[in-house]
């Protein structure tokens, strides 16, 4: 029997996400999937399960969830306030969510995309081979109060684990490589682009993130005669107003605006996680460097499981300390009061 997680209430942009849906580019559908893919791998490492399993992606704020059975959970991505039956929970960690308990996830303390993983993964029916919602394509829907989410068979039992995470919540330096139209921007424009401090604009979502900046816009030669061509996530498109728009996981498949560069996949989560006003800059690197950096990032991602360590319990964060003596209403010298704990 699969367990069930009930949505009691939730923010406007909570969706089921996985690594997306490759294979439909020719038919106009981009891969989609989690905006911060690394968070999926962190959740998988914390629960010792496959990173292919689906989780909940929460944009800016989470929601309240009720467990209809014991469920192992992990919290990754943008740190958000979280409580389990009103006792605070540590982010970037796994926990046991006992049957009958309520998990409340509030606003992001930093970053944008938070993730709630469950043991066995969210087991909704696949749509075109994957579970992730692709709202810009009209595939799937954001969660609403009352949704009942089945979870897959959970082979693991361990909880109360944590791992060190790459701090990627407030922008910073983003590495890019040349794109199809980079050479149509003259050298001076490319240099000015690389020297500009951008701010993440308020207009940002799973399709793209707009960059705000001081000074004149960026433009390519023969900008208007560029023929529409393939787009990949990470492409930095310069629209008519000269402002860069970093295309994200749910972008369209083709576009006719020139692209000045492409963000390295391992830095795209940093772009996604930046909050409005955060400062970002772009640094051109060459293909060989890019491949080496990305290979290192992939190797790190694969070995995340080795970085998982037990969550040290701070008495201040232990929930309802006194109740440990009162399980079943009987104090037993033999019973391990932590047995059913996270």
């Amino acid at each position: 029997m699969s367990a069930r997680l009930e949505v009691l209430s939730c923010g406007p942009s909570v969706t089921v996400q996985d690594q997306g849906r490759p294979g439909f580019l020719a038919q106009g559908l981009t891969r989609g999937g989690a905006a911060d893919v690394l968070a999926l791998f962190e959740g998988a490492a914390l629960l010792s399960q496959s990173a292919e399993l689906a989780a909940l992606e929460m944009v800016g704020m989470g929601g309240a969830f009720y467990a209809h059975a014991d469920i192992r959970i992990a919290l990754t991505g943008a740190p958000m306030t979280a409580t389990l039956d009103d006792a605070p929970l540590t982010w970037h960690a796994s926990h046991l969510m006992p049957a009958g308990s309520t998990l409340k996830i509030g606003g992001a303390r930093s970053g944008t995309y938070g993730y709630l993983h469950v043991g066995g993964g969210i087991d909704t029916d696949p749509m075109m081979g994957a579970r992730g919602a692709h709202l810009s394509a009209g595939l799937g829907a954001a969660l609403v109060a009352g949704d009942m989410l089945p979870t897959g068979h959970d082979k693991g039992t361990t909880t109360a684990m944590t791992l060190p995470v790459d701090d990627r919540w407030d922008g910073g330096r983003i590495r890019i490589i040349a794109s199809m139209q980079t050479e149509q921007f003259d050298t001076k424009t490319q240099q000015r682009f690389a020297a500009t401090q951008f701010r993440r604009d308020a207009r940002a979502n799973r399709m793209g993130v707009l960059m705000d900046f001081d000074g004149e816009g960026f433009a390519a030669k023969d900008q208007l005669s560029i023929l529409s061509d393939v787009i990949v996530p990470g492409d930095i498109q310069i629209a008519g107003d000269g402002a860069p728009f970093v295309l994200m996981c749910e972008c369209q498949t083709t576009g006719g605006y020139p692209r000045i560069g492409t963000v390295l996949p391992c830095d795209l989560g940093r772009v996604a996680q930046a909050t409005a006003g955060d400062s970002l800059s772009f640094e051109f690197i060459d293909m060989d460097q890019a491949r080496a950096i990305e290979q290192r990032a992939l190797a790190q991602r694969k070995s995340l499981g080795q970085t998982v360590i037990p969550l040290l319990r701070d008495p201040h964060t232990m929930r309802d300390l006194l109740s440990y003596q009162l399980i079943s209403g009987v104090v037993s010298a033999e019973a391990n009061p932590f047995e059913n704990e996270e």
Partner: protein, 245 residues
Amino acid sequence: MANPVRIRPVGLSGMLVQFAEQMSDPANRAAIAFRAAVEAQEWPEVRETSTSLVSTFVSVDLVGTAPEAIAEKLEALLATQDWLAAPLPAGRTLWQIPTLYGTDAAPQLEEAAEAAGVSPQTAIEELSTARMRVLTIGFAPGQPYTAELPAHWDIPRQQALSKSVPAGALVVAIRQLIVFTNDTPTGWRHVGQTAFRTFRPQSETPIALSPGDEMCFPAVSEAEYARILERDTSGNAGAQTQVLP
């Protein structure tokens, strides 16, 4: 050949083979034919392929595969024939999609006709009898870019975007027609409305159209359109299909 074919990396996501810098019919056919040829090779490093107007995209993980290695394979395949002379693929489908022109359902017919220099009546005659070919599927799932209308339909996109044009809308600009997949803000002019759904996620074939298919948009009356809406809730909207020889 006037235009040398260009092969170049697209980020770390794959390689693009561009057959021209401008839209042309031979380059569009070349892109479609070359994509089929790449698929037929079943190269293990190729994850998927797609075409845009005049290019073929070959999705390859350039982190694990050196760009030079896949470029070399693509060049060897390019050298096997004159792709610009490639015929259209076999087994294409002709789609006839009943369309309600003008009325409140498609309020920019008159404006578009004026831009093309014809009367609204002539515009309907021309648009509803044109035989269009799907150049590419893109932007949104299943969304066809079709060509080519007579030269006087080379009308620009509007400067100011229409806030939202509904799914199924038939829109026109630059001698092309598109049927929109989703409600979309757009600079293209909304001249007709269909109940045809280019993307049906619940269906066994969520996306029915393919590059190379042909499309016609025969005019129906408001009453007939209403009957189609009532009769056919599959998203096929009374469309007739036939396989082209």
